[in-house]
């Protein structure tokens, strides 16, 4: 048994339960026992998941999704290639993704307005511009809140961010904030007690902890002591959960690891697949380094795009092959696109005005390119799309009511989708 973290081999189950019985921390331990029989696949069947591929720094959309070979000044050196989607062409440096384009769509007419890294990151994760009166919840936390917590006996967080901090949950509460995996190629930090603390000692620690916690709760000092206990219960359950196997790639076959790529992005994509397969609702996988103000084309063709193409291509193929794609939406975006104009340093600068993102799966139609820009990639010529339209499309695809509205701690209303419309062509 690989997950015998707290039930030690040298300790009988009855002895262990005796240790736990005198405290209320016994409850998660009991559930741990019964969850051994639960079937993860059955749990997640009804629920949709989302994998967000987050390109931090601002990805060069015109060199990936919306090539302009006819623009002598803005086109750049890359050539377009055909894909498995009829009439949709993407960059020559994306051959693996090109084979999967019948599942994906490109939106080529997004205006996201924010050209600063922090503000753009906030905008694309929440749909809103930053505002000092309220911290808008990240959209991944909305998924966790609306869908994830309906799954009972599931002991992993429902919002997980790999290689990136993700977006905080704001007033939805820390339970829905991203659980960050800093490096998918290493063990998750602090998931196990330090060396020297065996299961026997951990049991003793939890028993003592339960006693102190219960005494403080019984003194009637309000809600906070109860909430603290709940978070610790959840954490102990996670430490005990066999689902934490999805946070380790150790047992993956070498061929699978190679297909995804063994860098942090490829490994992150593989971990994301394992997590949604297990039942996690939202996983964000980060790939950084896209702020290519200088010598962009070498960086893009030698480093960034091969890593992106390998991981993303393998992910979509793997999801499709496992029949997970209909329930798993895959979205590709960053904080903004990059200028059509190529600057004197051979790079492109920040550009939120007319850029491209990609999305598919989760029951969406596939193989389309929506909207367009002019020959030089500057002006939107067809079907302008705003960030809230993207959020609306994602929300609808996940089966979350697009009218969902919260009340912020300051008593003001906040809509998940504020004046955005789902992109009809994709639904």
């Amino acid at each position: 048994m690989s997950d015998s973290l707290i039930v030690p081999s040298g300790m009988s189950r009855r002895h262990f339960m005796g240790h736990m019985a005198s405290t209320t921390l016994a409850l998660p331990a009991m559930q741990f026992m019964s969850s051994m029989t639960a079937n993860a696949a059955a749990l997640r069947k009804a629920n949709k998941s989302c994998i967000l591929l987050w390109m931090s720094g601002g990805p060069s959309h015109m060199d990936i999704w919306d090539l302009k070979p006819d623009s002598s000044k803005n086109g750049g050196p890359f050539k377009p290639i055909t894909t498995s989607a009829d009439g949709v062409m993407i960059s020559e440096h994306m051959p693996n993704v090109a084979k999967q384009m019948q599942h994906m769509n490109i939106v080529r007419s997004l205006n996201s307005k924010e050209g600063n890294h922090d503000r753009g990151t906030y905008m694309m994760h929440t749909g809103y511009a930053p505002n000092p009166t309220v911290v808008h919840p990240g959209w991944g936390s909305v998924c966790s809140y609306e869908l994830g917590q309906k799954l009972e006996n599931f002991d992993l967080p429902h919002c997980i961010a790999i290689n990136t901090p993700g977006q905080p949950a704001g007033f939805l509460g820390m339970t829905h904030s991203p659980f960050m995996v800093q490096n998918p190629n290493a063990p998750v930090a602090n998931l196990k007690p330090p060396a020297g603390v065996d299961a026997d000692r951990m049991g003793r620690r939890l028993q003592m902890l339960g006693m102190v916690e219960d005494q403080f709760v019984s003194q009637r000092r309000g809600q906070a002591p109860i909430d603290h206990k709940a978070v610790y219960n959840k954490t102990v359950r996670m430490m005990n959960s066999r689902y934490t196997q999805a946070l380790s790639l150790d047992k993956e076959p070498a061929a699978v690891r190679d297909a995804y790529g063994r860098g942090s992005f490829g490994s992150g994509c593989l971990m994301a697949r394992k997590l949604v397969e297990t039942g996690v609702t939202f996983v964000e996988v980060g790939l950084g380094g896209w702020d290519t103000h200088q010598n962009a084309f070498e960086t893009l063709s030698q480093r960034l795009m091969p890593e992106l193409d390998k991981g993303m291509g393998a992910l979509i193929a793997d999801l499709a092959q496992r029949n997970l794609l209909d329930n798993t939406m895959v979205v590709w975006m960053g904080e903004f696109g990059r200028t059509p104009r190529i600057n004197q340093d051979g790079g492109r600068d920040h550009w939120p005005v007319s850029w491209s993102i990609a999305m598919g799966g989760g029951g969406m139609k596939g193989g389309q390119a929506v909207g367009s820009t002019d020959r030089d990639g500057v002006e939107i010529t067809d079907r302008p799309v705003g960030v809230m339209d993207v959020i609306a499309t994602m929300t609808k695809t996940m089966g979350i009511n697009v009218e969902t509205q919260y009340t912020t701690p300051r008593g003001r209303p906040m809509k998940v989708v504020d004046a955005g419309k789902p992109i009809a062509e994709l639904i």
Binding site: L191, K192, R204, R205, M208, L209, V212, F216, V231
Partner: protein, 541 residues
Amino acid sequence: MLMDRAHWGMVAVLAAGVFLSGAGASAVDRDAKTGATTKSEDFVDRMIKEGWDEAKIKPSKVAPEPEFMRRAYLDVLGRVPNIQEATAYLESRDAGKRAKLVEYLLAHPDYAKNFGNIWTVSLIGRQRQERQVDRPALSAWLRRQFADNRPWDKVAYELITAKGSNKDNGAVNFTLAHMESGAVPLTSTTTRVFLGQQIQCTQCHDHPSNDWKQADFWGVNAFFKGLTQKTVRKENAAGLEVDDYTELSQRIPEDPFVYFDKRNAVRGAVPPTFLDGRKINLNSEADRRVEFAKFVTEPTNANFPKSIVNRMWAHFLGRGFVSPVDDFGPHNPPSHPELLDKLAEEFQASGYDIKKLVRRIMETQAYNQTSVTTPNNEKDDTLFSHVGLKPMSPEQLFDSLLTATSAHKAGGGADSEKRRDAWLGQFIFAFANDEGEESSSFQGTIPQALMMMNGELMEKAVGGKPGSFLADLLEKAQLQSRTAPEIYVINHMYLAALARPPSARELTMARNFLNSSPDTIRIMEDLFWALLNSNEFVLNR
């Protein structure tokens, strides 16, 4: 035996320090049972009581001494008391010891450090800043203001008007942190922090629930026009050019107006205009921010003292009269409007004396109560019938862990500061969240709980290696003869972590654990781990 004597000698010194330094304090006599002050004319207690009477609720009892002590240390020094401090206070039989404790804390260097940290977070948040912002310089500047007890109007004036090198004048970093987007963030942060007014939604439209107009936002913004920053470089020892400091200046703009788009697509224009409609002489040669700082801090501006009084009240009581603390306005009336007015007037009349204000709040009946609710008052969260629990900030939690365990000192002195800084970085990363929101409930996350349960800092903190807190404690226990060694050990662990002795039930259970195995130090580690991971440790009761 030697160590033991040194230990008790230390207690005596500290005890003397506590009581001698308190000699000049105005100790308020208080009925030990009800907590009511015998000075019946005190308007704070009277007006708070009127609120209870009106709502027909009864206040909680006076906090027991350990509870009051731990709360006072956390609120004033930003950390729990160490064993010596706790012992000195709890063993004292001086009837006026609460007031003397307050004096001791206000004179302690950690008071200025704590409030310097708190105000750094209020002014520029916890998130990583651009490299031109020198956070340590701002913290050091703030720490000096609190250490010298500078009048609050002077502090605010200097923060708003600061110019020059951000290294020489740490106050400059407040402005530097908010200059982007035409100083829009500076506009909203300055009015929010110093006046408690949230005008930022009027950036784009008139306020929906009060009478602020879009022009009010841009009128304040116009005071910040012409701000410029310049990075000054120098040659380092290796002869390479590196950034030295950032220079902030403001020129008088040729066009004093700022322009903005109204909702009806008409373009608006406004010159520097204060929130009450007053404008400046456009021919003035004075720095525009100087004009603005005068408007903010002049005695006729009642919002200025009210804002800080409300923030301080919230800091100590867990909730402001106006809550959130920075959202004053007709749409969000205070719970005790007359009391807030009177406290603000008193604060202004004192010459904006922060330490006096702290003393004033800490001697109130409301602050001296326990956080234990009664069936009669448990639903109350606006009338201060009991003290509210406050979750520790990341800085408080970190400093308290080090105070309780000396974790950074274990394993050699030379690296202890370096270790401390490295851990603090991890800690802030794991525990900090966005500071725009106050949180009244515990905001724990699974990664935080994992870090507290299994992380390196906790491993060092509870580790019983030679030279550690626990190893020293065990040695002392075996050398003394006043009490059974295991009782000595248990008492001191509870005192270090929770600032109280164990209950009879806790003592029995802990003794049973200790007697169950010959490996005493391992059991001690496990018990200390449980205490430091508990809700009672992380919540300021």
